[in-house]
């Protein structure tokens, strides 16, 4: 149980932080594709009795680099490349499973996650990869921010965009490999994306968004695990459903506050003044901001 909690918190902290860069570059679905590639990797590992995280890492990295190169060279549109790899990997996994019956239960645990059965070795793999991911994000914080903002601008600012894109692709594979034991291959994408969507609503600033995503990820994993434990349900599904509940609440709040703002601005235009802090903040800025504001 301790191992399970540690693993889920570790993943909750790492995967969403890295996910910020995927979501902002509109690459959310790459996580889904790579997780299916990871599944094929796991199937190969089980068949050849190699270490599953290792094979999964190799498979996801290779796929990620290929997808990136196809996208760069415009050989295939980005989403088409993703589709080809997703179905190709899934088909390969299915074929491998049919070749060697008998490891279906293990594979099942990768599909839906089996955080309760993580071994010490799994934990070591996860810690190692998590450390690499975090160190990379810290070292290349400025470059990552710039590439995410605009690759062309980054390049003309002296950032080595191509090399960094490849590194990012490999680390996406690493993130998937780390996360798949906890929530399972089918739900990995949700763990990477949902905390980011929540954070984008609640904080400003790129660094803060990364930190907030990490915290929301921990919160989501921890509460999901607790619910799973007491309700005796599947941890992976529980974690993701918890995340979606938080997202729904945050989006509702955002919607409500937008609605209230619009209502208030409407009243102000009829001479009704209610001093909200926001109208003060914008008051001194001039140059058409008021116009912007009222249109929203």
């Amino acid at each position: 149980m301790n191992r399970a909690i540690f693993a889920s918190l570790l993943v909750g902290a790492t995967a969403p932080a890295f996910g910020v860069f995927l979501v902002l570059r509109r690459l959310s679905l790459i996580a889904d594709t790579l997780s299916h590639v990871a599944l094929a990797g796991v199937a190969i590992a089980l068949l050849t009795k190699a270490a599953a995280p290792f094979v999964a890492l190799i498979a996801t990295s290779t796929a990620a680099i290929s997808i990136e190169e196809l996208r760069q060279r415009r050989l295939l549109p980005g989403d088409a490349a993703l589709a080809v790899f997703l179905y190709g990997a899934l088909a390969l996994a299915v074929v491998l499973i049919s070749l060697a019956e008998g490891f279906n239960t293990t594979l099942f645990s990768y599909l839906f996650g089996s955080v309760l059965t993580v071994s010490i070795l799994d934990i070591l793999w996860m810690v190692g990869l998590a450390v690499v991911i975090v160190v990379f994000m810290v070292m290349f914080s400025s470059e990552l921010a710039q590439i995410t903002f605009d690759p062309d601008l980054a390049q003309t600012n002296g950032v080595r965009v191509h090399t960094l894109n490849l590194a990012l692709a490999i680390l996406t594979g690493a993130t998937i490999t780390v996360s798949m034991r906890v929530v399972g291959v089918l739900l990995v994408g949700a763990l990477i994306v949902i905390p980011v969507l929540i954070s984008l609503r609640i904080v400003n600033g790129l660094t803060r968004t990364v930190l907030a995503s990490s915290m929301v990820g921990v919160l989501m994993s921890a509460s999901g695990m607790i619910i799973a434990f007491y309700a005796d349900i599947a941890p992976g599904g529980s974690v993701v459903l918890t995340g979606i509940s938080i997202l729904t609440i945050v989006e509702l709040f955002a919607f409500a506050s937008r609605w209230r703002n619009r209502h208030r601005v409407g009243l102000e235009s009829f001479g009704y003044h209610k001093h909200g802090h926001e109208s003060h903040a914008h008051g001194a800025t001039g140059d058409g901001i008021h116009a912007d504001h009222t249109h929203r």
């Binding site: 810290v138 400025s142 921010a145 903002f149 605009d150 002296g158 968004t209 140059d287």
Partner: protein, 272 residues
């Protein structure tokens, strides 16, 4: 050494025969095509230090492609593009260059960065492993925001800005490093008339007081006539390149393919 640029005016030829490394941009028999379609055909000209050059041309004339070639974002199909004497696509010394694109990828999404953070990108001088813990050059960033007139927006989220404000943010970003060469792709699309005057005053100041070389893609022929010192008219080929006061209705008509009246300027007054 560079005397083979026959298409240029004599005036410019004299300047370009200096040291190549001092020439901000030099197109040398530059061709570029997307597949079969040639978009830039045999372009030869140089932007000399201190020049305020406007690039004019109809939509789809290859202006943006030309700037992307100059910024090394595209590699010429044949010929060369030199940026301070180095081939643009392998250029390293980016602190000399400021670039303001037409639009960015991030501005359409929910990008969470503040204006200050994006302007701070301009302070980047290369990879440094501990960059996250280093102080940013706050003074330079503040000055750049002041020049672009966006100090009051410093903490606003990028995705909350209007198009004109985003453009000013990108201009501020490009000014942080105090570049020798400033390249802008239609920087004032979406800026209102008052903002336009401010913007031109700013460019005038950067060019005449700081000696910054400026290259500007523009649709505003009137403003070009008033502000720029030289002008390059592009329509796949180069139609005209030379001092702005030599640009006449004939060249413009050739450029746009229909008669253009140049009523708003008078040759005597074009040179500011």
């Amino acid at each position: 050494m560079v005397a083979d640029t026959e298409s240029q005016t004599n005036e410019l030829k004299n300047v370009t025969s200096g040291d190549l490394a001092a020439i901000p941009i030099r197109f040398d028999e530059t061709w570029y095509s997307y597949g079969e379609q040639v978009v830039v055909r045999d372009i030869n000209f140089s932007i000399t230090p201190g020049e305020f050059a406007a690039i004019l041309g109809p939509n789809g004339s290859g202006k943006t492609t030309l700037l992307k070639l100059a910024m090394g974002l595209l590699k010429p199909t044949s010929g060369s593009v030199l940026l301070f004497g180095q081939p643009a696509h392998t250029f390293k010394d980016w602190t000399k260059v400021g670039y303001v694109p037409q639009r960015t990828q991030a501005t359409e999404s929910r990008f969470p960065a503040s204006v200050k953070e994006v302007v701070g990108f301009g302070d980047y001088t290369g990879f440094s492993p501990l960059a996250l813990f280093k102080r940013t050059n706050k003074e330079r960033i503040d000055i750049a925001m002041e020049i672009a007139g966006i100090q009051h927006l410093a903490n606003r989220r990028v995705s909350d800005l209007s198009v004109g404000q985003q453009q000013r943010m990108l201009i501020a970003r490009s000014l942080v490093r105090r570049p020798q060469l400033l390249i802008m792709d239609e920087p004032i699309a979406g800026v209102d008339a008052a903002g336009e005057d401010q913007f031109h005053a700013m460019l005038r100041q950067l060019n005449s007081e700081l000696g910054m070389t400026i290259v500007l893609i523009s649709h505003d022929i009137g403003a070009v006539m008033r502000e720029a010192t030289t002008c390059a008219c592009i329509n796949t080929d180069i139609v005209f390149h030379g001092p702005v006061h030599q640009l006449d209705a004939q060249a413009l008509s050739k450029l746009y393919g229909f008669p253009v009246d140049v009523l708003m300027h008078d040759p005597e007054h074009t040179h500011r």
